[in-house]
């Protein structure tokens, strides 16, 4: 299995945010993670990206246990993410935001970085070319030298995805990428997801926009109160009575 979330539990004091959740994700899949507010979706993301150490269970990625590793090492194994409330670096241009994400795995060493301007110059050129390519993919290349946080909201969302791609990930975790986007922008986002998927990158998507989730995802996992209550294809999920109950409440309940 490519990515295995195995009996994951995350406790904060007395609160159990994620309770014994297991999810298997295949390589190249677009996997949706949905559920009402507070159902533990973002917590799973935060564990996956190394912000929290799980209270129980483990995460296996390509046969290697990654739960408990520091965040930057998890990024180095091939995880990238965006944030629900965008977190672009505010003192930087769009280009610089992408450049931050590059060059920690390979690239010139620390001493060279200070004392070898020729190697650094070469490295910067490679990075810049790659960044331009990613900005093109997200159709925001024209803003490369603008301050990142001066861009319109929808464009900032795209820059954030481009920045995540700049870490050269195998899996990308998108935390509500359509939040705050209008219908047209959401449709553009869906096309972008297809393009990312075409590059062979596995996508894990947390999203409240059901239309987007149903269209984009091959498999969907539904969470409620930290538990997994359903998993399956979009059609199956839509008809699942447990899911309907979690979202709309029990029939006959006032």
């Amino acid at each position: 299995m490519f990515l295995e979330i195995d009996q994951l539990t995350m406790r904060f004091g007395g609160l159990i945010a994620v309770n014994n959740v297991s999810i298997s994700i295949e390589k190249g899949e677009v996997h949706g993670l949905i559920g009402p507010n507070g159902s533990g979706k973002t917590t799973i993301f935060n564990v996956l990206s190394g912000y929290y150490k799980p209270s129980g269970g483990k995460i296996i990625f390509e046969g290697r246990q990654i739960s408990g590793l520091p965040a930057h090492q998890i990024t180095a194994t091939g995880f990238a993410r965006t944030f629900q409330n965008m977190r672009l670096f505010k003192s930087m241009t769009v280009m610089e935001n992408l450049l931050v994400a590059m060059g920690y795995r390979a690239g010139v060493g620390l001493w060279q970085e200070i004392f070898d301007p020729v190697a650094v110059h070469r490295e910067e050129q490679t990075f810049t070319e790659k960044a331009i390519e990613l900005l093109d993919l997200l159709e925001v290349a024209e803003f490369a030298n603008e301050p990142a946080t001066s861009l319109p909201y929808g464009h900032q969302r795209r820059v954030e995805i481009a920045r995540a791609l700049a870490t050269n990930p195998k899996v990308i975790l998108l935390d509500e990428p359509a939040a705050g986007l209008n219908e047209i922008e959401t449709e553009e986002l869906r096309k972008i997801l297809v393009r990312i998927h075409d590059r062979g990158i596995t996508i894990l998507l947390v999203e409240h926009d059901m239309k987007l989730v149903m269209e984009a995802c091959e498999t969907i996992t539904v969470l409620d109160y930290g538990r997994k209550i359903a998993e399956g294809t979009a059609t199956a999920i839509r008809k699942d009575p447990v899911v309907i109950e979690a979202y709309l409440g029990k029939e006959g309940n006032p």
Binding site: A71, A76, A80, R87, Y104, R105, E113
Partner: protein, 331 residues
Amino acid sequence: MRKITRILRWILILAVACLMLVLPWIAQNRYQVHIANNIGIWLLLSLGLNIAMGYAGQYNLALGALWGVGAYTAALLQTRLGVPFWINLPLSIIAAAVIAAFVGLPSFKVRSHYLALVTIALGEAMNLVLVNEVPITGGADGIGHIQMPNFFGFPINNDERYYYIILIMVILGYVLGRQIVSHRIGRAFRALRDDFQAARAMGVNTGFYQILAFAISGAYAGAAGALYAQLNTYISPDIFTFNSALIVLTMILVGGMGSLPGSIVGTVLLLVLNEYLQVFQRWQLVGYGIAIIVVVLFLPGGVVELARKFGNFRRRWLAGLSKGKSDAEAG
């Protein structure tokens, strides 16, 4: 238009370079050269602190004590073991950088002003060590009879000759600083200052870069210390305190946080003003306090922000001018 600007800029740089080179000859007296040397030493301190604080957001206010680590390392190596300048200088840099890395350890637990408080305490504790370890440091009396450097038989025994050593070190410090802040290391610094969590998710080893920021400011302070000890031939603990760190902090706040030219502007401005305001010596710290308040309130980016604002204004003015022209032609 841009071409002319670029040429003007090079002329300016060249003029400043020439001025720097001949300064000891055009100075009216030895004291002015001494002031220039002093400025050079403080420049190294403020460049180092600006990299750590302005770029990486790491409040290293143990800087005064780290300056002392550099000075005492050089002084002890030189007076006790006869280690010449060319060897004790790099050793002082390494010593201060290593100690600074340890001073940076609390940055894993505390941030911003809390980190500032912890580093102030660490700096003062280090100063107490200098005062109380009498057998090694000479206590409050300090260390005297430090030799000035000797370059293969050519003695660098006065302010004019020493000036060139300091000039080289400052230029080196500036160029290396530029190299650090404008590429990958600098971006990692700014990333962890802007948004710590996002930086981690982008693969920045935040702990490593925090310690690196401290070590770099320590290295600059170490160089400043070794230069200071062998310029004055006498050192004592009373200058290697929080007070000095505060002066450097004022310099970079006034000049411009997160801007290396800002360090230069702030340092030169404060030290030159200081010379003219000797009469008010007692009020020096009050003056610094007022300067900080004024800058924070009215010019948060420091004096260099004025230059940037002027540049933007001029660009807009030029754009408006050419637009008006084309409008007139069209009309």
